[in-house]
Subunit: 347 residues, 2 copies
DNA sequence: ATTGGCACTCTGGGGGCCGGAGTGCCAATC
DNA sequence: GATTGGCACTCCGGCCCCCAGAGTGCCAAT
């Protein structure tokens, strides 16, 4: 049972601890926060907070440090995001202006976010899973090699070279192109993938009669391309900033670097975070333990329109500045959404 | 003036120091290396080595540590690469078997190399600069949006979407395709880039008469794609292993992580290394200082055929095991070359 | 409920101490 | 002339001890 003032004390502890990186004592709280009560009173409140496991004392008779649970309460009830400063906003705007393509836009996004927060920045690519295939193009490179290009209405393009088990001429290519187009253009990526996989592995009873015999080889390759579309991707920046922070992670940034290299772990983590009503999500310390990141926190903001709900955010020590990082992630997410909408409008 | 035995002592010091990470004294040398002389004799040799600045004593009356110059002499004259063990060879072979495409092959290459050496592995992509453009394909996505696909004979494919300043129909696209094909197919990438840039920025006197008016927009995009082909690329793996090694880098792995994130620095470094007659190259400690990596060493092996001379290698602390790492890089480079040749033969 | 007072605890930095390892030098030896 | 054993000297690193400072918990008083 924590009192109103108790929560204010928690807020003060979180703020001071994040700022100073040192356990905060009752005396320093009354000095810096004008509570209008004495240190002894604060001590009583702190005892309650400790009962609730919102703070702990690293050693007997030492100041207090927020627990993961304490940070959680802080983020859920106490944190108020301050909007970014004008220079920060213009920095985002100029950084994100006139990207040359999606890759470029995403790369700039994470760069500006790591610059704003000083943390490792992460961004999921917009999802192409719900996109529809608009074009299938075949280019004959050699009698037994065909380049397969796929385009989706979400702006995703993919290309891959397929070897063929037989020689084909221009007429064959035209037939193949028409048959593939009939099969998947206009279809959602996931649906296209199903239809493709049906012919990629010809039935034991032999390939479907009316289709070109070389089509299953192409289908296999197209299946890979479609799988790539469905696969989530991640961009990151700022890994180097971790080097200055190793002491924040119980002495080893190894798990963080591992996760950055792995990508797939972070992708799952990003995907599974729970978004609040503002599109913001946080995952704190031990909440990430199943992913081997029990010493780290992640904050993220959803961007994009109704269809895809991808995220941008940052990963850093549990003792990070949540309000600032959330505000930065949200601001960047908004600009990013806007850029994507503009691009969509142009299409 | 260093005697024959003096060099043997240097070798012993390098080996022991790399193995133990502790300054090595005269006594431990005679114990571990069967020189057949007394510690006092070794001390005399060590004094000479110190005069030549091949070793230093971190403190008065402490064991000796090789200097960068010492490592250089060791690598140039004393190191004998031991061939990899059979299991290591089969590991490479199975790791690199049946890659799905070039990206996949490169990714596997660095993964196996970091696995073999425990260091950060780096690999330059094979160079496409000398490749020739074999295909230009245009796909009309919308009246004012065209997908431009470029293919080279080295297996490089690139695609990009170009907005057009005017609406075009199928006939226009056919004209554009033919005109672009006439301009650059069969040309080397660098030559194609020149020809393209000539029409990308129309002369003040207006676009060249006989070309389609929309061609300059496409040329600009193709120029970007060609630039991408010419640009060197790098893949890396094993950055996480640095976390365990921070004490090897005067306490901060920050410059290394920075370089890994930057890529361009490492690319230049890799490109500028000097290859010996075996295709091996090393760059030790302060030799990398201009790149901000004065605490690190890089070893690399050239792979690929006559045309492109790209490199694979590893980056690690100055006190790395040069013979092993060189042997590993060389082995991986050989397998990689073989894979690429096979692919080329299939094309 | 809040407060001042008080006894108690624990950390972290500083200083001093000492063993161990290693050196440089020298005179003796092969 | 190279090599060697001996010896005095140096320095690091670990260890212990000590103490100031900061902070706590509790209690009796308000």
């Amino acid at each position: 049972m924590v009192t109103e003032r108790g929560l204010e004390v928690l807020r003060a502890i979180v703020q001071d601890y994040v700022a100073t990186h040192e356990p905060v004592g009752s005396r320093s709280i009354v000095e810096r926060h004008a509570f209008g009560v004495s240190a002894a009173t604060i001590r009583n409140d702190m005892a309650q907070l400790e009962d609730e496991e919102l703070i702990v004392a690293p050693h007997t008779s030492s100041g207090r440090v927020p627990t993961d649970k304490g940070y959680r309460v802080f983020v859920n009830h106490l944190a108020q995001l301050r909007p970014l400063s004008a220079p920060q906003r213009t920095a985002i705007e100029s950084f994100l202006a006139a990207p040359s393509d999606l890759d470029d836009l995403m790369a700039r996004t994470v760069r500006v976010l790591t610059q704003l927060t000083g943390q490792v920045a992460l961004a999921q690519y917009p999802s192409f899973a719900r996109a529809a295939v608009t074009h299938v193009e075949l280019v004959a490179l050699a009698p037994t090699r065909i380049l397969v290009v796929l385009v989706t209405d979400a702006g995703g393009v993919s290309q891959r070279i397929s070897p063929l088990p037989m020689e084909v001429d221009d007429a064959d290519v035209a037939v193949l192109r028409a048959q593939l187009a009939a099969l998947i253009t206009g279809r959602a990526v996931s649906e296209a993938a199903e239809r493709i996989s049906a012919i990629a592995e010809p039935e034991p009873s032999g390939p479907v009669a009316h289709l070109h015999p070389a089509i299953s080889a192409l289908a296999a390759v197209i299946g890979e391309e479609l799988a790539e579309f469905r696969q989530e991707r991640l961009v990151m920046a700022g890994a180097a900033t971790l080097a200055r922070r190793e002491h924040d992670f119980r002495g080893s940034i190894h798990p963080l670097l591992e996760a950055i290299e792995e990508q797939v772990t972070l992708l799952r983590l990003m995907s599974e975070m729970v978004t609040d009503e503002q599109g913001l999500a946080t995952s704190i310390g031990t909440e990430n333990a199943p992913f081997g990141l029990g010493e780290a926190s992640i904050v993220a903001s959803t961007y994009g329109s109704a269809g895809g709900s991808a995220r941008v955010g940052v990963m850093g020590p549990t003792r990070m500045d949540y309000p600032s990082n959330l505000a930065a992630a949200r601001a960047v997410a908004r600009y990013l959404s806007r850029m994507l909408e503009e691009d969509e409008a142009a299409r």
